[in-house]
Subunit: 432 residues, 2 copies
């Protein structure tokens, strides 16, 4: 077996078996196959695709490249949730403590922001002191003790994905269904989950722009999960409009906490309940979505989910003040307001432009080692369907300075579309 | 403009313009684009292909990456010949002095053997003392003085091809028409030729196995040549049987010299005359192939081509003894004979097996830095169509030792097929 022959076969659209994929990935991790050979293989895969069996093999080989957790001794169903990423998507943060209060264990390993979409880790790290770089033993212990932990991917967990993702990012091979599926599922399955609910975002602010691409990805995720004996459930949701009212790390954290206090925006709250319900159904705790949503709501309304969240944050060294304005999260120096120059109904707020604007304000990264300003971002004072008059405040801009705020205002004015007649509010779920 | 965007476009089957290709190749040569990014681009190109305009751009950019010769002041038409490589193909060696004697200048830069097919440089270097590593000024001066020079590709000539070819070899992207075309033509056009005749070999012993692949390559070569204002003429020839009677460096050199003395095997002689005639027609020296072949034959029969060859060899420090047996070329220690175990007619001698056997005898390379034993090889005592009796000598095996000779005999017995009824001799040209 040699790498050249395997690359050639993939180039010609043929399939590899698990032993061959294992050989290639192992040789790559050992440095016996160079970046240039793996780049050629990734490009051939991006163009030729992979069969379900090949994607399963790649997922398993990647998963087994590092530590694989096992939480079977906990006795609780171990179910995680993943989102393919969207603008304003902070759902994981309230979802984890709610799910734990409903009887699940959630060993969540998240990523950082890249591109126009945020990352759960960055949002969490807006909490002063909070650490996500826990060693694997401490991560596992916290899941046992508190039912959940918010962790970062370390050197020890799926190292193949870290190395392959960096190479994909440099070689225009990120957008490939089998490579996306193996990257997502290898990490989730390394967490030792019994199942995972995946929110596949679709629209201008998401990685998948069209519903057919989103459906293809969802189908591949579920098929690979089934082949590996893991329950994978996908939910397709719209990402043409930002999710919730806030975009930016600390602002999103504040909104996530308000969801836990029962006063979050309706779309974020509804999606959190729905995804928890899907997790509960996967874990066999409820028979249907409706009873799962009821269970989720009661975990919030009882205050238990909020308390659970505070315990998790404290265990990870985070300092939140539940009584302070903004919970003691960092605040930006400048807060300006963008006002409407027209009257009518908001017909669209372009999620991608909003995401890019927050990234430019310093809330996201252009290079993977860029530092993040957790305090910056935007608050949408009006959303699609709202009627606005000339001079009404549309968006609050939280910036590190006046220039940055002015630039953001200029960009954001292109993101908001106002029509003369009424517009229905944004719908969250894609028609299947 | 950035490399990632250009790779992505090629991945998606879109085209790049010359400025974009120039940016990518320049950045690669400067080390600003890494091997891994270029490997991804090469794989995308191998799968998606290139338009004629893209191949033209790549050829031009590669050509301009190093020194480009200009022989216009010579006054003679400057025409080269290239072969895509075949087993026993030594045609370039007699062709060059014949072409010069017919009025052309031939600044020939050749390659070394790789795989089962030989390289003109290795055959030339079987002449004791002969140097091909001439600096560009000396190369140009010799073309001016003697009408021809046999040179090697140095660091200064098409460095982009050296770097790209090594990467293609490692990433299974050698077999790609636009990449082959740009590699061949960038080197030939850097020689400063007005035109080039390309012998596209097709069959078991060639790079192109099928006639449709060979025709596709030939069409692309001629189209790119035309777009670049250079006359490119392809001739498609069969490479199912070895060319001539000898395979192995010194043995092929000896046969090449016999062609110059008018006593070469009919197929090599005919092909040399035909290709010279094509060159003469491209150079405007003759109106048709038939008068070109007549001119070529008279250059040989007059002894002028042989004398020209001896002058070129001497100018390149080679020592040939025209009166010695084997012209003073190296001889192997062991010469064994493979005899026929059947009677009948030779229906096929598999060129690829013969080429691989000579490579294993030490006449070719497995790695690019392998040393070559110029003395080893085989002489075909009978060829396709010949009638043979049991016990007749079929092949002479020239080896460095008895073991190597025995292994070669074992392999070669699988390369020769004998049928009961008569078989026509091999035909040289592919029906267009």
């Amino acid at each position: 077996m040699n790498a050249h022959e395997l690359i050639r076969r993939k180039r010609d659209g043929l399939s590899l078996d698990e032993e061959e994929i294992r050989f290639l990935v192992s040789a790559y991790l050992k440095g016996e196959v160079g970046d240039y050979q793996m780049a050629a293989f990734l490009m051939a895969t991006a163009i030729r695709g992979m069969t379900n069996a090949e994607t399963v093999a790649l997922t398993r080989v990647m998963m087994e490249s590092g530590r694989v957790f096992d939480f079977d001794l906990l006795g609780a169903p171990v179910i995680d949730k993943h989102s393919t990423g969207g603008v304003g998507d902070k759902v994981s943060i309230p979802l984890v403590p709610i799910a734990v209060e409903c009887g699940l264990a959630v060993p969540m390993i998240s990523g950082r922001s890249l591109g126009a979409t945020g990352g759960t880790l960055d949002k969490l790290e807006s909490i002063p002191g909070l650490r996500t770089d826990l060693d694997p033993d401490r991560f596992a212990r916290q899941v046992g003790e508190l039912g959940a932990c918010f962790g970062a991917q370390t050197e020890e967990i799926v190292p193949a994905d870290r190395k392959l993702y960096a190479l994909r990012d440099a070689t225009a091979t990120v957008e490939s269904v089998p490579l996306i599926v193996s990257s997502i599922l290898s990490k989730k399955f390394a967490e030792g989950v019994h199942g995972v609910v995946i929110d596949v975002k679709c629209g201008s602010g998401a990685f998948m722009r069209t519903s057919s691409d989103a459906r293809e990805l969802a189908g591949a995720l579920e098929a690979v999960g089934a082949s590996m004996g893991k329950a994978v459930k996908t939910v397709l949701t719209s990402m043409d409009e930002p999710l919730g009212r806030t975009i930016g790390n600390a602002l999103e954290m504040e909104e996530a906490i308000r969801v836990l206090k029962g006063s979050g925006p309706p779309d974020v709250t509804a999606l959190a309940y729905r995804l928890v319900a899907e997790m509960l159904r996967l874990g066999g705790i409820v028979p249907d979505i409706s009873s799962g949503e009821t269970l989720a709501r009661s975990a919030v309304e009882s205050g238990r989910a909020f308390d659970r969240f505070m315990n998790i944050v404290a265990a990870q060294c985070g300092k939140l003040d539940p009584d302070a304005a903004g919970f003691g999260l960092p605040r930006s120096k400048v807060v300006n307001t963008l006002v409407s120059r027209a009257r009518g109904f908001i017909s669209r707020i372009d999620a991608r432009i909003v995401g890019e604007t927050v990234r430019e304000l310093g809330g996201g990264r252009f290079g993977k080692d860029d530092a993040i300003d957790h305090s910056v971002g935007v608050v949408l004072l009006s959303v699609r369907g709202d009627e606005v008059a000339e001079g009404d405040a549309l968006i609050e801009i939280h910036a590190s300075g006046e220039d940055a705020a002015r630039n953001a205002a200029r960009r954001l004015s292109d993101a908001i579309f106002i029509s003369a007649g009424p517009v229905p509010p944004a719908s969250l779920y894609l028609v299947p």
